[in-house]
Symmetry: C2
Subunit: 199 residues, 2 copies
């Protein structure tokens, strides 16, 4: 990477961090590009060089957040020997998001919220659900072939796992003191698995 | 109810319906009290007689939505003979929300979204989760006593059921064409129950 490329990368990262801060703190509508630039120590020209609009930096943040999740999930899948054990290990991803998502939750909810009024955001929102659905359906199919899981509908079971993860995240983030969410996540996966494994 | 009380009730209902429409259509920030009053054919004075602020009508809408849910859940519980069968019958509540919530989803998400920045809304948001948690934990305890459910942690299992319902609702509402959500909801509950029943 050239010196210039490196500087450009750093500027982009500073803008993303500043945007994350103000979206979380003030909400999407109130967070201004001027404020984001000022906090990042970056000119408006540089902002629009990297992102064509406030919506684009918002989408970039969401994408960055998902990339982190994808990386964790793919690593766990690649290290996996036994499918049921592997599914339990994925509880750690949900736990990790609950632990570190203080800044991300408001942005995620803002995203969800705007998705109901903006078809582009809706599309960006739905796409990862489809991707995670395929990811888990494939794992469950492998478990059925392996003989560790019984003949369930992989598509339904995948949606159930994603639903549970989404629901746990929302509750865990809104109400951190409401439960021991790490324990709840692990135990929930164990109960679900008990309904899925072959005996 | 006197004629005057009846008229006052009707005004309140008209205001709630108009608020629901504009919150869903324009979002909370953009939805103005003036517009809500105009659509409802009600004076601003009458608005503030019923609701002290835009936030209060927003909270009232949320409360009204929850009351509908509570009614359905309580009815199902009271009619229930066998706990596992009863839990399956509650799939209908999730299906019903997915079917009828076109207008409610944006408001619910707006609510969630604002909860991250407003402690009053956060409190109003968390309270029903606690209530539903107690409701399901009690049902599961009854199932364990009845001998139909095995010795699971009722608190964890209740959180799992709520998580799944929340996750299914969010996916079903954002992505209605992404799956047969009625079937997914029913099958998900069956898989979960298989992990909970005594054999």
């Amino acid at each position: 990477m050239s010196k210039q490329q490196k500087r450009s990368e750093e500027t982009r990262t500073r803008l993303l961090n500043a945007a994350e801060k103000f979206f979380a703190q003030d909400g999407y509508d109130a967070a201004g590009v001027a404020k984001i630039c000022q906090y990042a120590g970056v000119s408006k020209g540089a902002f629009y060089h990297h992102f064509s609009s406030k919506q684009m930096i918002f989408m970039a943040l969401f994408k960055q957040w998902l990339e982190g999740l994808d990386l964790q999930l793919t690593k766990l899948r690649d290290d996996m020997v036994d499918i049921p054990e592997g599914l339990i290990s994925m509880a750690a991803v949900v736990q990790d998001v609950i632990r570190t998502a203080e800044n991300q939750l408001p942005i995620y909810l803002e995203f969800l919220n705007r998705a109901t009024r903006d078809p582009n955001i809706l599309q960006a929102m739905i796409e990862p659900f489809h991707r995670y659905h395929a990811f888990f359906a494939e794992m469950i199919e492998a478990g059925i072939s392996q003989g560790t899981l019984r003949q369930i509908d992989p598509s339904v079971a995948a949606r159930m796992i994603i639903s549970m993860a989404v629901g746990l995240l929302i509750q865990g983030l809104l109400d951190p003191a409401g439960s021991d969410w790490e324990w709840t996540t692990e135990e929930s996966i164990r109960i679900i698995l008990r309904g899925m494994v072959k005996r």
